[in-house]
C-alpha cells in the first residue's frame, strides 16, 4: 500500500520542471491573450473570416474541442460499465481531458462572437428554437457531470493521501482536507459514492451523445451541401471517439514517462487503448464512406461541386492527407501488435489527433466556400479563406488553456486512482487509513 501511494503521488510537488513548463505556458498564454485583445478592439475583421466563409478556425476548433471531450464518456462509462478492469488507471486521465476540453469549448465559442460583451443575451433572450441554445444546455450539463466524475472518485484518494502521504506539500494539505469532505472510508460513505458514480456514469452517456450530436446539428440543420446530412450526429460522435482516444494515448504516454508510472500504465494498457482506437477508427471510416460515397454516387449539382473541391480542388491536399495519413494508415498500422506498443502507438496517435483537427476544418470551411449562388463582386479575401496570424494565435490560446488545466489537475492530484488501484491489487485502503 505504501508503495502504491508513493508511486502514484510522488509527482505531487513543486519542482523545477513544473515551473519551467508552467512559465512557458503562461507566457504563451499571455502572448496569445494579446492577440485576443486586438480582436476585442478592432472586431472580428482581424481574423480571416468574411461574409461567405464566415465560420473558420474558431468554429472548427470548437467542434474539435467538443469532440475531444467525449472520450471521458467512452472510457469511464461505456468501457467501465461493461466491466473492463484495465480501464481503471486510465479513467482519471480521460475525465481530466473531458473536463479541460469541455470547459474551454465554451470559451472558444465566445472567441468567435462578434459581440462577446452580449454573451448574457443568450440567457436573457434565449430562444429555444435555436440549436445554439441546445448546445449551451447540453455542454453545460456534460461539463458538470464530467467534473463530478473526476471529483467523486478522487475523494477517497485525497483522504488517503492527506493521512498517508508524508511528502504532500504543506500548502496543498488544506485543499486536500477540504476537498476530501471528511472521508473516513465508512461503509455508508462508500455506498453513497458508489451509487452516485454509478448514476453519473449512466447519465453521462446520453449527455455525451447529445453534446456532439447537437454540435453536428449546428451544421446539419442548414440546407448547405456538405452539411445537409442525416448521419451527421453519429458521424461526429464516432469521429469524436477517434480524436479522444488518440488524445488519451498521448496523455498516457506523457504521464507514464514524466511521472514514472511504468508499473501502472503498462504495455497492456497501451495495447488495449490501441485496440480501442482502431475499433473506433473503423466505425469512423464506415461513416466517412457513407458521407462521401452516397452523395458522390448521385452527384447532385451542389454536392458534386462540394466533393470536387474536397477531392480534387482547393482542399484536395488537406483532404487526402487527413483521410489517408490521419485515418487509413493509422488503421492499417494499428492492426499489428508491434504498432500498439507505447512509443509507436503514441506517434500514430499524434498523427490521428492532427488529422482529426484538420478534419473539422474540412467539415466547416469548404461548405461555406461554395454557397448555392455564385460569389461575385467582392474582394479576393472574401472568396478564399486564409486564417490570419491573430486568428491562429487565438486558436492556440484555447489549446494553451487546455494544457494549463490538464497540467494543474494532473500535477496536484494523483493521475491514477490510488484507492481503486489498491483495491484492484487486493489491498484494503480502509485499514491503511485507520492505521
Amino acid at each position: 500500500m505504501e508503495k502504491i501511494v508513493n508511486d502514484l503521488s510522488h509527482h505531487i510537488r513543486l519542482n523545477k520542471g513544473f515551473f519551467i513548463w508552467m512559465g512557458f505556458l503562461v507566457l504563451a498564454f499571455l502572448a496569445c491573450l494579446y492577440a485576443y485583445t486586438r480582436q476585442l478592439q478592432y472586431g472580428l475583421g482581424v481574423a480571416g473570416v468574411r461574409d461567405y466563409i464566415s465560420w473558420g478556425l474558431y468554429i472548427s476548433n470548437f467542434v474539435f474541442f467538443v469532440a475531444s471531450s467525449l472520450i471521458g464518456m467512452l472510457i469511464s462509462a461505456v468501457l467501465g460499465l461493461i466491466g473492463f478492469k484495465w480501464v481503471h488507471p486510465i479513467t482519471r486521465i480521460a475525465e481530466t481531458i473531458a473536463v479541460a476540453f469541455a470547459a474551454v469549448a465554451g470559451l472558444v465559442i465566445v472567441m468567435d462572437m462578434g459581440r462577446p460583451e452580449r454573451l448574457a443575451y443568450v440567457f436573457m433572450y434565449a430562444r429555444f428554437q435555436s440549436p445554439i441554445l441546445w448546445d449551451v444546455t447540453v455542454i453545460t450539463t456534460y461539463f458538470v457531470i464530467s467534473l463530478l466524475l473526476l471529483f467523486l472518485p478522487m475523494i477517497p484518494d485525497m483522504a488517503v493521501l492527506y493521512k498517508r502521504f508524508s511528502k504532500l506539500p504543506s500548502w496543498l494539505k488544506p485543499v486536500y482536507k477540504v476537498l476530501s469532505l471528511n472521508w473516513t472510508d465508512h461503509p455508508e460513505q462508500n455506498r453513497i459514492i458508489h451509487r452516485s458514480v454509478y448514476i453519473l456514469l449512466i447519465l453521462i452517456i446520453p449527455a455525451a451523445l447529445s453534446i456532439h450530436t447537437v454540435t453536428s446539428w449546428l451544421f446539419a440543420l442548414t440546407v448547405r451541401p456538405g452539411w445537409d446530412s442525416t448521419i451527421f450526429g453519429p458521424y461526429f460522435v464516432s469521429g469524436a471517439f477517434v480524436a479522444g482516444s488518440a488524445a488519451v494515448i498521448i496523455a498516457m504516454y506523457f504521464f507514464r514517462r514524466n511521472y514514472k508510472l511504468q508499473d501502472y500504465l503498462t504495455d497492456m494498457h497501451f495495447n488495449n487503448m490501441g485496440k480501442v482506437l482502431v475499433l473506433v477508427a473503423f466505425v469512423y471510416l464506415y461513416f466517412n464512406i457513407n458521407e462521401y460515397l452516397v452523395p458522390g454516387y448521385k452527384l447532385k449539382r451542389a454536392d458534386a461541386l462540394h466533393l470536387h473541391e474536397l477531392m480534387a480542388g482547393n482542399f484536395a491536399v488537406m483532404f487526402w492527407l487527413v483521410q489517408v495519413g490521419g485515418l487509413l494508415i493509422p488503421i492499417i498500422l494499428l492492426l499489428f501488435r508491434r504498432m500498439r506498443r507505447p512509443m509507436p502507438l503514441t506517434v500514430i496517435s499524434v498523427a490521428v489527433v492532427i488529422g482529426a483537427w484538420f478534419k473539422r476544418y474540412l467539415i466547416v470551411v469548404p461548405t461555406m466556400a461554395h454557397p448555392f449562388l455564385p460569389v461575385q463582386h467582392v474582394p479576393e479575401n472574401f472568396k478564399v479563406y486564409t486564417p490570419t496570424l491573430i486568428e491562429i494565435a487565438i486558436t492556440l490560446l484555447s489549446f494553451i488553456l487546455v494544457l494549463i488545466i490538464i497540467t494543474l489537475i494532473s500535477k496536484f492530484f494523483p493521475v491514477i486512482p490510488v484507492v481503486e488501484t489498491a483495491k484492484d491489487k487486493g489491498l484494503d485502503p480502509l485499514k491503511s487509513i485507520e492505521s
Binding site: 459581440r115 435555436s130 463582386h377
Partner: protein
C-alpha cells in the same frame, strides 16, 4: 298609465297622495339641482383644461392617419425613441404583405440599385444588401444578370436559428435584424441559402459621423461592428408609403414592389402599377430555389426577349 295608477291610488287614499306628490317634487328639484351643478362643474373643468393647454396637435398615427389631439390628452408611451422604434419595427405595417418582382429580361447590370442601397444603409462598397450576379444556369443556356437580395422568406431558415431573437419575421412579411440585440454568432449567415446576409467585420462606414444617431431598426443604421446586416425591403420607406431605395433607383424598369394583399405592384422606373397575379402569371414568374421550402417573397421573371447583349462583368 302611471298617472292613472297614481290617480287610482289618490282616490283610494287622498291624504297619502299629497305627501307623495310633495316627495316627488322635492326629488325632481334635487335631481335638477344635481344635474345643473354637474353641468356647471364639468363646464368649469373643460374651461380650465382649455385655459391650461389651449392647443391641440396634429399627429401621424402608426397606420398613417392624421389626427388632431389635445396636448393634454397625449401620453408618452416610451421616453426612449430608440426603444419605441424597436417596438414599432417588430410589429410591421398592419394589413400589408410586401412583395418584390424582379424582371430579369430588363436587367442590364447598371448597378444603380446597389449604390442607392449602399448609400441608404451606410454600407461599404464590398457590402451588399443587393448584389447583381452574372448567372448561367447551364452551358447551353444564355447568361443573364440577376439582382439578388434577401428573399424575405415566409419560412426563413435564418430566423429559426437565431439564439437571441435578434432577427425576426414581421407581420407584413419583412425579415429584419435588431443590431442592438445581435450577438454576432453568424449562425443566420450559415443558415441562409441565398448568401443574403453580410457582417460588419470592421468598423462600419463613417462610423464616427453616425455614432450619435438614434438606431433605426427599419433602416438598420447606424450599422454596428460585430453584427449582421442585410436587405430590409426598405422598411422605413414602406412605412412612408414610398418604394424601396433600389426599386426607385433602377433606370431600366427591372423592379416591381407592392402589397400582395392589394394584388398590386408598382414599377420603380415607370411608376406604373400592375396587377401582381397577372404579372406573375403572364410572365412565367419563378422563385429562387423554392425546393428548399423557404417560401421567398421575391419573384423573378425569366430573362427572355432581351433587346441588349449580355456583357460579362470584369469581376
Amino acid at each position: 298609465m302611471d298617472e292613472n295608477t297614481v290617480n287610482n291610488r289618490d282616490e283610494q287614499d287622498p291624504s297619502k297622495s299629497s305627501r307623495r306628490n310633495f316627495m316627488k317634487n322635492i326629488g325632481l328639484l334635487g335631481a335638477g339641482v344635481a344635474a345643473g351643478a354637474g353641468a356647471l362643474y364639468s363646464g368649469d373643468i373643460f374651461e380650465k383644461k382649455k385655459a391650461a393647454t389651449g392647443e391641440s396637435k396634429v399627429l401621424l398615427t402608426q397606420d398613417n392617419k392624421l389626427v388632431e389631439v389635445d396636448s393634454l390628452e397625449m401620453k408618452v408611451l416610451a421616453k426612449n425613441p430608440e426603444k419605441l422604434k424597436l417596438q414599432e419595427g417588430r410589429e410591421g405595417i398592419p394589413g400589408k404583405r410586401w412583395v418584390m418582382v424582379i424582371d430579369l429580361s430588363k436587367c442590364r447590370n447598371a448597378r444603380r440599385c446597389i449604390s442607392a442601397c449602399q448609400d441608404a444603409h451606410q454600407l461599404k462598397p464590398e457590402q451588399y444588401h443587393m448584389n447583381t450576379l452574372q448567372m448561367q444556369d447551364s452551358p447551353g443556356t444564355a447568361p443573364y444578370n440577376m439582382p439578388k437580395n434577401c428573399q424575405h422568406c415566409d419560412n426563413p431558415p435564418c430566423v429559426a436559428v437565431c439564439p437571441v431573437d435578434a432577427t425576426y419575421k414581421r407581420g407584413d412579411g419583412i425579415v429584419l435584424i435588431d443590431n442592438v440585440r445581435c450577438i454576432g454568432c453568424r449562425f443566420c449567415m450559415a443558415a441562409c441559402p441565398y448568401s443574403a446576409r453580410i457582417f460588419n467585420w470592421t468598423t462600419p462606414k463613417d462610423a464616427d459621423k453616425h455614432s450619435g444617431e438614434t438606431y433605426n431598426v427599419e433602416l438598420n443604421v447606424p450599422q454596428k461592428i460585430g453584427t449582421v446586416s442585410k436587405c430590409l425591403f426598405s422598411a422605413d420607406r414602406c412605412r412612408e408609403g414610398k418604394l424601396p431605395y433600389c426599386v426607385s433607383a433602377c433606370p431600366n424598369g427591372v423592379y416591381y414592389f407592392g402589397d400582395e394583399n392589394e394584388d398590386a405592384v408598382t414599377n420603380g422606373t415607370t411608376k406604373e402599377t400592375t396587377r401582381l397575379s397577372k404579372l406573375l402569371r403572364d410572365n412565367g414568374a419563378y422563385q429562387l430555389m423554392p425546393e428548399l421550402g423557404t417560401k421567398p417573397r421575391v419573384y423573378y421573371l425569366p430573362p427572355k426577349n432581351r433587346l441588349f447583349p449580355f456583357e460579362p462583368s470584369t469581376d
